[in-house]
Assembly symmetry: C2
Homo-oligomer: 196 residues x 2
Amino acid sequence: MRPELVRIAPRTGTAFTMKAGQTLTVIDPEGEQVADLLCFNANDVAEVLSSGRTLDYASRIYLTTGDPLYSNRSNVMLEIVEDVVGRHDFLLTPCSKDTFRIIYGDTDPHQGCFGNLAQALAPYDIKPDAIPVAFNCFMNVPIDGTTGAISVLPPLSKPGDYMKFRARMDLIVGLTACSALQSNNGRLKLIECRVE
Amino acid sequence: MRPELVRIAPRTGTAFTMKAGQTLTVIDPEGEQVADLLCFNANDVAEVLSSGRTLDYASRIYLTTGDPLYSNRSNVMLEIVEDVVGRHDFLLTPCSKDTFRIIYGDTDPHQGCFGNLAQALAPYDIKPDAIPVAFNCFMNVPIDGTTGAISVLPPLSKPGDYMKFRARMDLIVGLTACSALQSNNGRLKLIECRVE
């Protein structure tokens, strides 16, 4: 049986469980579209993905094939096993009403990836306050090494590009098709994923 | 009455409360010593300092005078009102037993800033799992803009250098004299602070 391909509509999110050893493929079918990825220990949701631990242990802000993603308890949650793009972000929190208000000046802001993740994760008893920095697949965030300036540029992903993660523990995963225009080169597209 | 100067012994940490409007001065008396700073909303400890929100809104990884530090709810918790050093880190989590085990290969690791913060914050009902990326005062972490490589170099702080924060809400604050040799140019020193 072919594992099901899940389509995440533009500006929405979803959540699902994975067993240790399963793989998750995140696909960008049209190209230049970011997907925010979060995960929690399925047996104790106080254990969550940690950018700070992961970047410290990697000694690199750009992660790719072979890199483990650590939890706040320094356990490996996911490992990147395949990555055809090679540029993702792990510095910035999911876009939210406040992002759109503070950065874009929107008066009636969309709930963003943060709101989409909060909604999708609520049935798993995960509170919005527990949403940390996400691993932002395909998000292209160069840093100026001298000034520290952060830029948000169009993703380097082309149509059909993907990356694959292996779960190293039983997980609850949240995943979005990112809602911020700047992150997605001005056009909000879908994301596909598959667990197998 | 002169506000009390608190001494934080090498490789230890402390916690205290601040009222909105008060200032916190963090002093590096001997120079080249990092202090990990965390804060929680005193009225609801689920609201906590967020590196991801702060860096996103600043569009810079290096923060200094005038920059607000945001919570996971996008509220301003602290504002940097004076900074004579100009280089601090907001990417890496507090050093921990696991840091010393994974990065330094220690077999009997010190509890690090993470353990010190967990201990100091426990009386305020803050759980270790709730400790996020800290604002690491005086920590000098350049990023290679091309490769994304993270370096940990000696702090730029000279003896007596300091930075001052203003609280924008009632806070519980955790603060350490950092325990990691590499972050402090190989010598673990004290930190001083003052709330007024």
